[in-house]
Symmetry: C2
Subunit: 382 residues, 2 copies
């Protein structure tokens, strides 16, 4: 079994589904916490599991550099290595290497870049990215794509989009070969997903999607190159324009998104999967997400507060510790603090996915979603 998706209900473009993968089931819509270095930053995999997260993302770029995919394979593959036996999706490293502005050279063959770890020169091609992910042993591998900046002009966006289509073919060819020549114990049957590119240009996005669908029958389709600096309404427009043409029977994954409101705006536009480091990055810096907008845990008014961080939350942080204690932990720089707020933020996004799903299934999604966003935006701008 590679990946099987059942669409259970819809509410306008919003969808509730079930994605079955070699390591388990993901009920969608769903947020995927990011485990950059083979760990969701600051957290124990058991804690991540208890947030209700059903799938996490691993970063191919980082794991390739340290500890290296062969080390991960020698230690039993990515799931066993990091003690996460549920599904794992790996990105292709494309986003990271294209972000190394000034430290990388792009050609049709691939990308040559300078490692941020040891300054050594490295090379990633579509074939190599596919091999690394195969060796890691994730449930879902992403194609290696040519990522362009959010505000990329038409010609550059077109070049990246066209190249991404050619690279998709190379990834798919290598992926197919690997299935037969290099099976091993921890390597379950892996899915390869394509990535829609094209910047903010409607016709390029459409050509990208059409090109992808013409090149195969994919068990999932990702949308890349968004939430990289363009205004939110532009991201929403791109999603809205793509939505009617995306295959209904495959999950849609909006890469690198997002913040709480982004998640719900994406779900309302037909997205099923999300990933973003903001939950843990904000948590590390003491910013907690609440239904009524974010809160700096350090704020003075928390000093004597016996209230939970988020009275509406069921996470282990909110049901156990007071705001006063959490504030204290950040003031004295005790790392338990960043861990507890990261955990809350992840549960916040996982729970948002869970509730959206419930609302889609019971037919109350649209009004709930409008009210939730109104309250949240009101708090964020207050």
């Amino acid at each position: 079994m590679t990946a099987r998706f059942e669409l259970l209900a819809t509410a306008g473009p919003a969808r509730a589904g079930r994605l079955s993968l070699p390591h388990g089931v993901v009920e969608t819509p769903a947020f995927m916490p990011v485990g950059t270095h083979g760990a969701v930053r600051g957290l124990h995999p058991d804690e991540v599991r208890r947030t209700g997260a059903q799938i996490i993302l691993g970063n191919t770029y980082h794991l390739h550099l340290r500890p290296g995919e062969d080390t991960v394979a020698a230690l039993g593959g990515i799931h066993r290595f990091m003690h996460w036996e549920r599904p794992i999706l790996t990105d292709s490293g494309g986003f990271q290497v294209f972000s190394l502005e000034g430290l990388r050279t792009i050609s049709e063959e691939g990308v040559t870049f300078t490692s941020h770890v040891d300054g050594g020169l490295r090379n990633i091609t579509p074939e190599k990215a596919t091999e690394i992910q195969w060796t890691l042993g994730s449930d879902i591998a992403m194609q290696f794509d040519h990522v362009v900046p959010g505000a990329a002009p038409y010609e550059l966006a077109e070049e990246g989009m066209e190249r991404s289509l050619r690279w998709l073919e190379r990834c798919a060819r290598r992926h197919e070969e690997l299935q037969t020549i290099r099976p091993s114990d921890h390597q379950t049957v892996q899915s390869l997903w394509p990535i829609v590119q094209g910047g903010t240009h409607s016709d390029l996005r459409r050509r990208s999607l059409d090109g992808i669908l013409a090149r195969g029958d994919w068990s999932g389709v990702a949308i890349g190159g968004l939430s990289v600096g363009e205004p939110k309404p532009v991201m929403h427009r791109v999603l809205e324009e793509l939505e009617p043409h995306m295959p209904a029977g495959a999950p849609r994954y909006l890469m690198g998104v997002g913040f709480p409101a982004d998640l719900l705006e994406g779900i309302a536009r037909g997205v099923d999967l999300f990933d973003c480091v903001a939950a843990t990055r904000n948590g590390r810096h003491g910013t907690a997400w609440l239904p009524g907008g974010r809160m700096n845990v350090r704020k003075a008014s928390n000093r004597l507060s016996d209230a939970p961080l988020d009275p509406e939350c069921d996470c282990e942080t909110c049901t156990t510790f007071s705001r006063g204690y959490l504030r204290h932990l950040f003031v004295v720089e005790e790392i338990l603090g960043l861990r507890l707020v990261s955990l809350h933020n992840i549960r916040f996004l996982v729970r948002l996915g869970e509730e959206a799903r419930r609302r889609i299934l019971d037919g109350t999604f649209e009004s709930w979603q409008r009210e939730w966003l109104a309250r949240h935006y009101h708090g964020e701008t207050a």
Copy 2:
């Protein structure tokens, strides 16, 4: 109920006992993890609980400065504040303020010092130290003592020892008053324990102990001013000379000790309780304690090792993660690593106490202890 101690068995000077406190029972000998800022560094209280620790230590000096004892009291007292409902012992802050060399002035009244947090001038007296601990609400409060350096000459050690006796009287007086005038919900009946001082000088140590015993009937007696730079054989001699004169019916607490071998050497000399930051400090820096001596988790030979850190250990780290994964976490500076090794080190000391206790109870302590120490010292010097 304040503190009740039952002596269950002995093996030479070594003792197995049971200390009953308002928040629960402590089976001795036992190691107390240190929760400097209201948290055992890097760990969640649930994790500390699962190491088997039955009591932890809180630092009065640090909690007084941040968040302040009144804040802790307003948030329900130290146990509720930090979500640790088992017993807590607080030190008096004496060790910390006397360590502020050049930043403090000692007088008979108390110590004036410069806060390391805000540079403000602060004052701690025996009465004040007692009040702070009372307000925090620990199960056991320590007397405020005059701590001298490990290599202190006779006159200085004598001065500190004599002053500590006078300060003990003032602590006890204030402690008695507080029991009647400032009870509150979270303040259980607290015990006050004296501290034997006198440096490395046998007659001073003896005079200190006699002076303490002449001044009251204590539910526990601490030995301070050791493991502060003097050679290990000197510490052992001081313990051996004191042991026959310590009251058999009260637990003996060796402050600030120790490393694994120190724990066992202390148990063999009649000590019941220990505390030390070394378990978490070493853990944070990637040093794991093993029966055969310490190990730097980062060492290259761990890279491909699927073995547990310590094959003889039952802690959550050793039963879950490989050496290869732990090494990787330290290499990429992922904080899960320091947490997992800190947790192992704490479990290592807790388990050492548990096994010593079992051996004392079943009559095999002496030979086991000799073999354990021989193996450990051999590994440490290898």
